[in-house]
Symmetry: C2
Subunit: 363 residues, 2 copies
């Protein structure tokens, strides 16, 4: 199901194809985030028009709202949001760690209260997969314990042990047509990361994620971790760096052998008026290969150029910086959507450029 | 420029075509409102896809933000918002009356402070037209004095006299390619309304609006006013009822000879989750020809039908009631857009049904 088409001679970067129930996805890829069954401000047609082949949705959020009974009766997430292409669902592990109230981690699973209404939930590894089966995602993630940063070695050790135990329990469940990914934990401790990766490898998951990064550690720490974790992962399986990141981080992670990404940055930043723009030559990913602009800045008031004159997204083809600035200043909701369209396009274009670079032997 | 194609034998309803700089518009028509250069949550492509031939934008709001210098440099409102079809701009009279602070009406014009930042503006009839010339709208409205409801006869009299004086001053300005409409005032006083209409008629405007209705008076009072005002208006000119209204009010006003409408109801109600649905037979406009539903209602939680199974709008073709309810409950901005698309489609469809009814001799 995962086919590597080309491996870079300059780095660990790989060009590949991942065959999923809802279509073939080219790697390396970026998944726009549809937290609550919507990539914020965009409908499914918008996302498809932007060329996304796969999106990510959040088990934790969908479990809370609309709840699993609705998702079951809807016939799964694809039908619910009318999205025909692939979906990866996370397991809820990260959200329990970052959002939920009064969480308690036991051998059995995670007990927590909803951040919305305080309702009590118990999420076991088995239930996390059962939920993802009902969601009908193409890729399910196992429930993991995501350690915070900084984190004592003892705490990181416990997170790894539980994640490994839960992974073993998860492997006993087979959902037809759905890939299942293990998640490597271990914080910034090399021996723990290696142990985690090796134990999970024995279980032969369909793919491997590196979790517990982009949780506040310095960027160099993240790169260093990838430098020793990715070589532990099987070459023939897709490698997924969860929750990353800035464009330059994605570039660096692809160079370290990562195939899959997701991040809220393009969408969240868009809603704050922060716009990504490519700079310089097409296949150059050196320092300053892109810049960001704050569209609410006074200097764009009478700037009737598109956000990026070289961009082919619907926003840049149809609207000006002055118009977008006006929409943001006037509080018009359309501004959020137009900025989101551009930023998601930027990230998808970044991945197209990276793939073209690997293909051309320049990356 | 205005051609009546058919006059009903059952009512004063007329079917016509209004030729404007940015295309021919079929009458009777409804104008979605793009207050601040955006039909809230929709982009120009959305509005065009819904089949709108003309939209309305607000001089008062655009004067405050982004301001006239930006609009001039943008080359007008069409270019600014990338809308290729017709636009009617109001004069700001109604907003000065309803929104502005510390307003003072003199013989010269209106002095008021911005409701946003308190900035002081003086708007004369001449300036209102100068602004609309810069906006480049297809139809400009003269600056009028909109009396509140209820309103003493003396106050209504003063509003009529000033509106007539300002109309005479406005007529001295000719903007090429832009139609200029007079506005009949007079509150609910028959003699004042007649006097206003007759004085304006002498000035030979390109069209006539009935202003100062839908400001709080009982619905019957509005219908009664139309019953005696519309016959005063020249048959060969378009008749515009400003700010109206609910679907049944539009139906009743078309029957009384009105050709043009605008109202915030479809868009504002959409954002509150109130959805319009046709009921019963296609050409029936009797009591209960439509209903409204509150999409946030619990009963739609597992309702996987479209908002209206007979509706051809993009929302109904692609998404379910359960999905829309979820988006509203979860606070997802996409919900506002999908509901707006449906409601604007409903209003445009209502006008198509009305026109088909007049054409078929059934209205």
């Amino acid at each position: 199901m995962f086919k590597i088409l080309k491996t870079s001679k300059k780095s660990r970067a790989r060009l590949g194809k991942l065959k999923l129930l809802h279509g073939v996805v080219q790697t390396p890829f970026f998944m726009p985030i549809a937290t609550k069954a919507s990539v914020k401000t965009l409908d499914s047609a918008d996302i498809e028009n932007l060329g996304a082949e796969i999106i990510l949705s959040n088990t934790y959020h969908l479990l809370l709202r609309p709840g699993m009974e609705v998702m079951r009766k809807a016939g799964g997430l694809h039908k619910f949001m009318n999205w025909p292409r692939a979906i990866l669902t996370d397991s809820g592990g990260y959200q329990i760690f970052s959002l939920a109230k009064q969480r308690k981690i036991t051998e059995e699973g995670a007990i927590f209260r909803s951040h919305i209404d305080g309702q009590k939930f118990t999420l076991t590894p088995e239930l996390a997969l059962e939920i993802q089966k009902n969601l009908g995602s193409d890729i399910a993630m196992i429930l993991d314990v995501c350690a915070p940063y900084p984190c004592s070695k003892k705490e990181a050790e416990k997170a790894v042990r539980l994640t490994t135990d839960w992974a073993a329990r998860s492997k006993k469940i087979k959902n037809k047509n759905q890939l299942m990914f293990g998640i490597v934990q271990g914080s910034v401790y090399k021996d723990l990361r290696r142990e985690s990766a090796r134990d999970l490898m024995k279980m032969n998951f369909d793919g491997y994620a590196v979790g517990g990064l982009a949780v506040g550690e310095p960027r160099d720490e993240m790169y260093k971790t990838l430098d020793y974790v990715v070589p532990e992962l099987p070459d023939g399986k897709p490698h997924y760096l969860m929750g990353v990141g800035q464009p330059e981080e994605i570039v660096e992670a692809v160079r370290r052998g990562i195939d899959m990404f997701d991040c809220v940055l393009p969408t969240r930043n868009a809603r704050h008026g922060l716009i990504y723009i490519f700079k310089g030559k097409k296949d150059n990913f050196g320092r300053g290969f892109y810049e960001t602009l704050h569209i609410t800045n006074e200097k764009f008031k009478k700037d009737f150029a598109p956000l990026d004159k070289n961009c082919s997204c619907p926003t840049c083809k149809n609207y000006t910086r002055a118009y977008l600035r006006h929409l943001f200043i006037a509080g018009e909701p359309l501004g959020l959507r137009l900025a989101t369209i551009h930023n998601v396009h930027f990230y998808l274009e970044l991945m197209r450029k990276i793939r073209a670079g690997i293909h051309a032997g320049k990356f």
